[in-house]
Symmetry: C2
Subunit: 190 residues, 2 copies
């Protein structure tokens, strides 16, 4: 059970600590560095929105975020993507791209076809059914995001976009120190 | 392989698209809603920092983020936590709390003991060795975060903290629509 669910179940208090403060961010004590506080708040916000989206996708579309992400990538590439390209483009989903593709293929949402230009390679595309389904999900997804981010007005959002651009430009220069997939199921459980 | 690693390997370009733009955020096309753009940027920043931290933890401490998170929670509770409390407090790690605890116990980093007040329940604590190890990791972790967030000056960070507080207060009111663990390994691969 996720922390958010737990908090909802327990109401406003958990072990005497107001629920609003029982989360990742509470790890930062008062004298922790501002950067650490900011990171924990960033992570906590991301987890909160992501959990909500995962729940809604499951509840309203009986699907998962990795499946949604994979279809989102294919929607942006109507000519299809090779499996290797798909893997590169999925950041949230990570893990088992082949397994997700197999599953979506069985459900007739995606199709594997021979590449027109290079007949040795196989590309994955959304089927018509898949595209229709994805667009329904994407429309709902956008509405959820608009709701979830509704605490910020337009100007706030613009300021945040600017700040996050700075953060991103700076932080991505550091790269990833070793082979590492964010969401590898193997890694998660250890 | 993570997208970030792929990008580093491929240098500045991937399929003719500048690497700086090949990530989650590129899913938002120009006419996408501002909220969606902001969400994808937020997610993309989080993934970038998280991937870096995962890589450094592995490289410098041969450990994983879920293990680090679990030890961080125990460090904040010197009297120990029950397994159920630990599960509630771990948001990033999710999944297999028992497995991680077993592993850390074998390495003498944590110990399970009978609760003093209620002898029927078992609490988990950091051992002295575990505490020492955690503090070394935490000091490095904070330095990494300071570096990674170094693109923002103190005022930027303060502004971001304020914005994220608004976002968090608003978005957490929506809760999680169904039973759903963010990082369930079962969920990830599908």
């Amino acid at each position: 059970m996720s922390t958010a669910t737990t908090l909802r179940k327990h109401g406003s208090e958990l072990d005497g600590v107001p629920a609003a403060f029982v989360d990742l961010e509470t790890r930062a004590t008062k004298d922790d560095h501002q950067a650490l506080r900011l990171w924990l708040r960033l992570l906590s916000c991301t987890v909160c929105v992501e959990n909500h989206v995962r729940g809604r996708l499951r509840q309203e579309f009986s699907t998962t975020l990795p499946r949604f992400d994979l279809m989102a990538q294919l929607e942006r590439h109507p000519d299809g993507l090779r499996m290797s390209e798909l893997s590169q483009r999925l950041m949230v989903s990570g893990g088992n791209v082949t397994g997700i593709t197999d599953q979506l293929e069985r459900e007739k949402m995606v199709a594997r076809t021979l590449n027109r230009e290079d007949r040795r390679t196989i590309t994955v595309k959304l089927t018509e059914v898949g595209l229709k389904r994805f667009r329904e999900m994407a429309a709902s997804h956008e509405q959820w995001i608009i709701e979830l981010l509704g605490g910020l007005n337009q100007e706030d959002k613009q300021v945040m976009l600017g700040m996050l651009r700075k953060l991103k430009t700076h932080s991505r220069a550091f790269g990833v120190p070793s082979m590492n997939t964010r969401l590898s199921p193997l890694d998660r459980g250890k």
